[in-house]
């Protein structure tokens, strides 16, 4: 049984992405007791699926590692993975949370040796890589996963594969009888750091993401660059596995569109500018076939990133077309052809590319209906800072469409608010 030691001076943080980890660590570093609940089998959230950050083009794994070290060094943080908050009752300073923990079927004896994965045959779509490859029925979600422990996919439970995995384990780490658990504990304040999900590109019918192999999303493109990702770090066309050199980026794919997401997702312009630099990184500046085209309504290089935009504008490999693409068709060789009219001169274009990357928008992960507690949510689905929320605060992309920098700032702010709530509780209790 999982034991959670918590009082009404405990801070519950929901979601262990960069925002949740930051909020948890910041709160714990002020001496507070924290419970960090994560739905996935590992911490890190969306940033674990990014190749590089803008604007420095450094690796997210670096900052994630630092934060994971801070987290384990600090103490006072209980981490529950594969866990979801199913209910919250009570009021500010005295909440009771109900958390459902799904069975991992692997206990702490696991050394991540991988013998179980070798033994198992069944394969499933790999969510970490947005289904671009498969993982075994017993798997480590990704190579930097924390906790560094394998997971048995519940779909192999009861099959021969499960027994094979168990037999292969030399450390007695596989426990096929593990059951779903429900734990209940106290918390004085709650931080929702439930993050975002990429907008479902299937809904943008004119772009044919559901029909054309060589139309992908920005998050999938990001996975391609990862050396340990589905393509081994190569930009390949999903249609035929050939190298994609002439790449189009389509901005506002689902954002700023009343048919889809009304809001500007804020990060996608910078994300595409960043991704356009991957082309030179991959093929070198000399390769004349390698080039990028960014189709945009207007470039919103948020914050102080105008410099980055200018740098990309000066890159001879990258061209900009001021136009929202009307639709995409494919030619006989399965090359995507983007069609539209540009706003600077109203020229009609019909341009063939090797690969089209849709800069999909950010949608909050948790819908208004599925929040286990009454909470103020705006029309876009993000949590509002509202006094009616009591001791419940939003951090990161649960509060708005944010880049990592702003998400971390928002997480620190949420931690401070939560700390104030539990301090008040402590004061009242003497």
């Amino acid at each position: 049984m999982t034991e959670v030691v918590a009082t009404n001076q405990t801070i519950l943080v929901v979601g262990a992405g960069i925002s949740g980890i930051t909020a948890a660590v910041e709160a714990a570093e002020t001496g507070k007791n924290v419970v960090l609940v994560e739905k996935r089998a590992y911490m890190g959230g969306r940033i674990s699926q990014l190749y590089k950050y803008f604007p420095k083009l450094c690796f997210p794994s670096c900052g994630l590692e630092i934060n994971q070290r801070r987290l384990s060094a600090q103490g006072g943080i209980t981490v529950l993975t594969m866990a979801e908050v199913s209910g919250v009752t009570g009021a500010e300073g005295d909440y009771t949370a109900t958390v459902k923990i799904s069975p991992r079927y692997v206990n702490e004896n696991c050394t991540a040796c991988g013998a179980c994965a070798d033994a198992v045959e069944a394969e499933f779509d790999n969510d970490h890589n947005y289904g671009m490859d498969k993982h075994k029925g017993a798997y480590l979600p990704y190579n930097m996963a924390k906790p560094e422990r394998f997971v048995i996919d519940p779909r192999i439970i009861g099959t021969e594969d499960a027994e094979k995995a168990k037999a292969a384990c030399k450390y007695d780490a596989i426990d096929l009888d593990m059951q779903e658990e429900t734990v209940e504990f106290k918390a004085g304040a709650i931080i929702w750091a439930t993050g975002w999900t990429p907008y479902d590109a299937n809904k943008i019918q004119p772009y044919g993401y559901d029909r054309y192999d060589n139309v992908i999303t920005s998050v999938e493109f990001e996975r391609m660059m990862d050396k340990f990702g589905p393509t081994g770090g190569k930009i390949l066309r999903p249609g035929d596995g050939k190298e994609a050199k002439d790449i189009a980026f389509i901005q506002c794919a689902g954002s700023r569109d009343r048919n889809h997401l009304k809001h500007c997702s804020r990060i996608c312009c910078m994300a595409s500018l960043k991704q356009s630099t991957y082309i030179t990184e991959q093929y070198g500046a000399e390769d004349e076939d390698a080039k990028g085209t960014i189709y945009y309504i207007d470039i919103r290089s948020i914050d102080r990133f105008e410099d980055f935009y200018r740098k990309v504008q000066n890159d001879p490999k990258i061209s900009f077309v001021k136009s929202k693409v009307a639709n995409i068709i494919v030619d006989k060789e399965n090359n995507p052809v983007v069609k539209g009219v540009d706003t600077e001169g109203y020229h009609r274009y019909e341009t063939k590319h090797d690969l089209v990357v849709l800069a999909v928008g950010m949608e909050p992960n948790v819908t208004k209906e599925s929040f286990p507690v009454e909470i103020a949510i705006n029309e876009h689905g993000f949590i509002e800072a509202d006094e009616a929320n009591g001791g419940i605060f939003a951090a990161g992309c649960a509060s708005d469409a944010l880049d990592v920098n702003r998400a971390v700032q928002s997480a620190t702010a949420a931690a401070l608010r939560a700390v104030q709530v539990v301090n008040k509780v402590a004061g009242a209790e003497g």
Binding site: P206, C252, D257, K339, G340, T343, R348
Partner: protein, 207 residues
């Protein structure tokens, strides 16, 4: 003073305001963010001089004459592709028809444009009996460009006509004048009243 001159006098250098105040759904033009999806989505877009996106920008740029004498909005077939895709949900098709109607009222619609001609023929045909006499409307379209080409058109479509008659989709006796609605004068009065209200509104707007 003609309505056109009055409107020019009144709005001076603000055609956008003129459109917003007088064109059906014209108020939406200011909401356009010039993304170009309507222009790219229009199946006839390559056949027009001015796509919706361009027309909206021309309205803002005070290109009054160019917009109102343009034949582009007359080319709209009401496929609604633009409305469906517009990220800001502008009723683009309706604005196109609104612009065409307004240009027509001001006497600026391009006379040579066939759609413009057909719309007027359709309207006059319908107003006679309160319903469209399809046979006469079809024939007037065939004979639009003169007697000889009319005969040629008719012969070319002879088989279609015969089949339509067989399937009772065309009544040849309609050529004698055709049947009307029950209360024709009532309908005509109603339309007249609506036209008067509309004319009064425009008249008042122009002052």
């Amino acid at each position: 003073m003609s309505l056109n001159t009055a409107m020019v006098e009144k709005y001076r250098n603000n055609f956008l305001q003129e459109v917003a105040g007088n064109v059906e759904e014209g108020d939406w033009v200011k909401m356009c963010m010039q993304c170009g999806v309507c222009a790219g989505s229009c199946p006839l877009g390559n056949a027009w001089e001015h796509t919706p996106q361009k027309l909206f920008m021309m309205i803002r740029a005070n290109k009054r004459d160019e917009v109102l004498t343009s034949d582009s909005m007359w080319m709209c077939t009401s496929c609604y592709n633009c409305i469906v895709r517009c990220p800001r949900e502008l009723p683009i098709t309706h604005i196109m028809h609104g612009l065409a109607t307004y240009a027509k009222k001001l006497g600026l619609a391009p006379q040579s444009n066939p759609t413009q001609w057909f719309s007027e023929t359709f309207w006059n045909n319908m107003m006679k009996k309160g319903r469209v006499n399809e046979l006469k409307l079809g024939l007037s379209l065939y004979f639009k460009d003169g007697f000889v080409s009319g005969i040629k058109e008719s012969i070319a479509h002879q088989k279609l006509g015969m089949n339509m008659m067989k399937a009772k989709r065309m009544a040849p006796m309609e050529i004698m004048g055709g049947h009307g609605v029950k209360d024709l004068s009532g309908l005509q009065k109603m339309i007249k009243k609506a036209q008067d209200i509309e004319a009064e509104r425009l008249e008042a707007n122009s002052k």
